[in-house]
């Protein structure tokens, strides 16, 4: 038996399993990101709202979610939450991919809490005089937002959002706990089927690292393309 067997990773059943896992991980990333961004936007606006009860709601959301580990979120959405639903919906859920849905819910809610804080601080970083100056120049509310405030706010907001995406990518691995057949899960399956721990974990590590470095590269590119301007 060779020390490191590449053939296992290049072709055959185990190769297919690992690649399927990687694809599912990427799907989890995409689905959670698409759901998390609008939630984060709403929560950020809640936190900036002039009404105190809405601000409190936003604060409660962010703090509750951030101070509980993602694993506990996953366990709750997979084991706990479906039990609270009516029997019919429960049956329908259990017939489908309930573990994947639970993972996506947990991941999006968790990521949204962190992203909301980034969006909030991005908008807050723009002095209100910028808005006032835009209005004074004769732009309407939307025109001012689109031409003056948002271009500046986005420059500040996007880099932290990219680093949250990196965290989200690494967090998808926790879905393995509730049995989602993503990359980490498949690596474990291949390991127990073949006893080639080194090869399967090396594949998974290389895959995680490649995507992570790609995301980091994106952040660096953005930083060069749109450097933060001092106001």
């Amino acid at each position: 038996m060779p020390l490191f067997d590449y053939s296992l990773l290049l072709t055959g059943k185990y190769h297919d399993m690992l690649v399927a896992g990687l694809l599912l991980s990427l799907q989890l990333l995409a689905a959670s990101l698409v759901l998390a961004l609008p939630i984060a936007m709403v929560v950020a606006l809640l936190r900036l709202s002039p009404l105190a009860p809405l601000r409190w709601l936003g604060f409660a959301y962010v703090e509750t979610i951030r101070n509980i580990p993602l694993l506990a979120h996953m366990l709750f959405w997979y084991f706990g939450a479906p039990e609270l639903l009516p029997e019919g919906i429960k049956q329908w859920l259990y017939a489908g991919h309930i573990e994947a849905y639970s993972a996506i819910i947990a991941l999006s809610l968790y990521t949204a809490a962190f992203m909301a804080e980034d969006i909030r601080s991005g908008i807050r970083a723009i002095p209100t005089v910028q808005f006032e100056a835009g209005r004074a120049l004769g732009f309407g509310f939307l025109g001012t937002m689109r031409r003056v405030v948002l271009p500046q706010a986005l420059r500040v907001t996007v880099p932290p959002l990219i680093s949250q995406t990196l965290s989200l990518w690494k967090n998808t691995s926790i879905a393995t706990v509730i049995g989602v057949a993503e990359l980490m899960y498949q690596a474990g399956q291949v390991e127990s089927a073949t006893f080639r721990s080194f090869e399967s974990f090396a594949f998974a590590s290389a895959a995680y690292l490649t995507v992570s470095l790609a995301i980091t590269g994106l952040a660096t590119w953005y930083h060069h393309r749109f450097p933060v301007r001092t106001i």
Partner: protein, 240 residues
């Protein structure tokens, strides 16, 4: 919900101890504390290497930090779980495995906190110390690092919060920390998963929210007393 708490609170807090291994919330806290205490010196060493003027030291450590920060903690745990027994020759228990994974993982993150702390100081601090005749090592140890570490205090408390949250991943290698115990209770009670996991979430929340508020308070207190790096004029006197 109250019924579950009154039936299982001892199990939830300490697991099977003293009739078996220690577990539950106490194990979570023990693991997080040991992890952070052991990771801190390693993180400082790595952080110093990241800002060191010597390339042969800076580059490998930078590579290490990038690799560990690019991997999920779960991957690091899997590597530790698989590598430790084959390297040491003895089957390491879950606690040791988890502790080592946490120390490696946290040290890489702490290294970045230390680096940011050092680079956040005005360059003049290092230059003045060198001009006073201290060599690089002493200037770092006596002038730069004490200030950088003080400004890092709130980040350290936040890192402790992260570490508490990270210990939950011990669940996957069967470590009897609080999430694992909650799942055990769930299999015994069987009918009330939502309540049990709500209790688990609430427990983490109380702990972590309290600590992160403490970090916030600490940050404001350090800023008010003029001890943050933002105000180098009031930096403590150094006896060289």
């Amino acid at each position: 919900m109250l019924e579950i708490i009154s039936d299982y609170w001892v199990y939830f807090l300490i697991g099977q101890y003293p009739n078996g291994p220690l577990g539950g919330l106490v194990l979570t806290l023990l693991l997080a504390s040991c992890g952070l205490v052991l990771a801190l010196p390693l993180g400082i060493v790595l952080g110093l290497a990241r800002v060191s003027p010597w390339r042969w030291l800076r580059w490998p450590v930078t590579g290490f930090v990038f690799v560990v920060r690019g991997l999920p903690l779960l991957m690091v745990i899997f590597w530790a779980y698989f590598f430790l027994p084959s390297v040491t020759g003895v089957k390491t228990d879950q606690f040791t495995t988890m502790l080592i994974a946490l120390v490696v993982f946290d040290a890489a993150y702490l290294a970045e906190i230390v680096r940011a702390g050092i680079q956040g100081l005005p360059r003049g601090q290092m230059e003045t110390a060198r001009a006073l005749g201290l060599d690089y090592g002493r200037a770092m140890r006596l002038v730069v690092l004490p200030q950088a570490l003080r400004s890092m205090l709130p980040s350290l408390v936040n890192q402790f919060v992260s570490t508490i949250k990270e210990t939950s991943l011990g669940y996957i290698i069967g470590l009897a920390e609080v999430s694992f115990i909650a799942t055990q209770i769930n299999t015994q009670v069987f009918t009330k998963p939502a309540q049990i996991y709500l209790i688990l979430g609430l427990t983490y929340f109380i702990l972590c929210f309290g600590l992160s508020r403490f970090a916030y308070w600490l940050e404001r207190r350090l800023a008010r007393r003029g001890m943050s790096v933002a105000n180098p004029a009031s930096a403590p006197k150094v006896s060289a």
